[in-house]
Amino acid sequence: MINFAIFVAVIMFLGAVWTVLTKDVFRAIVIFGIVSLMSSVMFLLMQAPDVAITEAAIGSAITTALFIFTYKKMEDKRDER
């Protein structure tokens, strides 16, 4: 079990670093969704299934959707200029 925890933690850390360092905003948003999903797996390993379900539903799905909506709205403005 600890090997799986380390594996998930490494994926999460690399995803966070990639999110911060990449230049493309849309790519950063999608990889942040992956980081959030991996953190949901970590909550499950911490024996907290309630928090895991909430994180998967809210942190991973709805937050990513909101960021993508905002990105689309900002891109619209750039096209008008």
Binding site: P49, D50, I53, T54, A57, I62, F69, K72, K73, D76
Partner: protein, 247 residues
């Protein structure tokens, strides 16, 4: 963009942050005479005596699976959220309402209109929406037995409305959402006042529970979780209607 690549600044930031991270890790792992956070300590060392004596960890309490207890919810997290700390939860829902209100004030009012999506999404959207509604209802009805609860139930119900928005289907009007939210928010406090007159405490669980593990053993917990779920779902669905036009 040029400042983003300034090497000196980045290196200084990395050094300071890694030093802080190392210090915090050292403090939280430390098992010396200082702060003990992650030792193997029993709940008796963490929880106040008053709660332990009225709760199940007392030696004299005869507590077995399938019998009644003080509050009969099998999920202890649900018991903490709804039975002991419902004030936090209701005030938190009010905080969510205020932030969504500010969101509606601040965002510019030029909504995007949805182009008609592909046939597959358009035909499959009602089936997905019904599945989402069923899962959300299951979450808040079974919140005291299995993991889940009001907040993920509200998020999942609002996701079904999101699918309806993205596929160009007509689901609900935003005025209906506001009415649902107001009714849910008022009835939480009405139930709280009723429980004050019946039991003497605000938000106390006045329906006596049954055996642990039964569906209707939680007393007021499914009622409160249902109201919270509908309030959260209505508030989150308002966000999508601020971004996209209703059909």
């Amino acid at each position: 963009m040029k400042d983003e690549k300034s090497l000196f600044l980045n290196i200084v930031t990395l050094l300071i942050l890694s030093f802080m991270a190392f210090y915090i890790y050292k403090v939280s792992i430390d098992t010396g005479s200082g702060i003990k956070i992650t030792d193997n300590i029993t709940p008796k060392m963490r929880v106040a005596d008053k709660y332990l004596k009225k709760n199940v960890l007392d030696e004299k309490s005869t507590y077995a699976f399938g019998q009644t207890a003080e509050d009969t919810s099998a999920n202890i997290v649900t018991s903490v959220v709804v039975d002991y700390r419902l004030f936090d939860t209701t005030l938190e829902v009010i905080v969510l309402f205020v932030t969504i209100l500010g969101f509606g004030f601040v965002i510019p009012k030029d909504k995007r209109s949805i182009k008609k999506p592909s046939v597959i999404l358009y035909r499959w959207a009602p089936i997905l929406m019904v599945l989402m509604l069923i899962i959300g209802g299951y979450m808040f009805i079974n919140g005291h037995l299995s993991p889940g609860g009001g907040f993920p139930a509200g998020a999942i119900i609002s996701t079904s409305i999101l699918i309806g928005v993205l596929s160009g289907r007509k689901t609900v009007k935003s005025k209906t959402l506001k009415v649902i939210e107001a009714i849910a928010g008022i009835s939480i406090f009405i139930i709280g006042i009723v429980s004050f007159f019946i039991k003497g405490n605000f938000f106390q669980n006045f329906i006596v529970g049954d055996r642990i593990g039964d569906l209707f053993s939680g007393g007021l917990i499914p009622v409160f979780y249902g109201l919270i779920a509908f309030k959260v779902a209505a508030e989150l669905s308002n966000i999508y209607f601020e971004f996209y036009e209703e059909c």
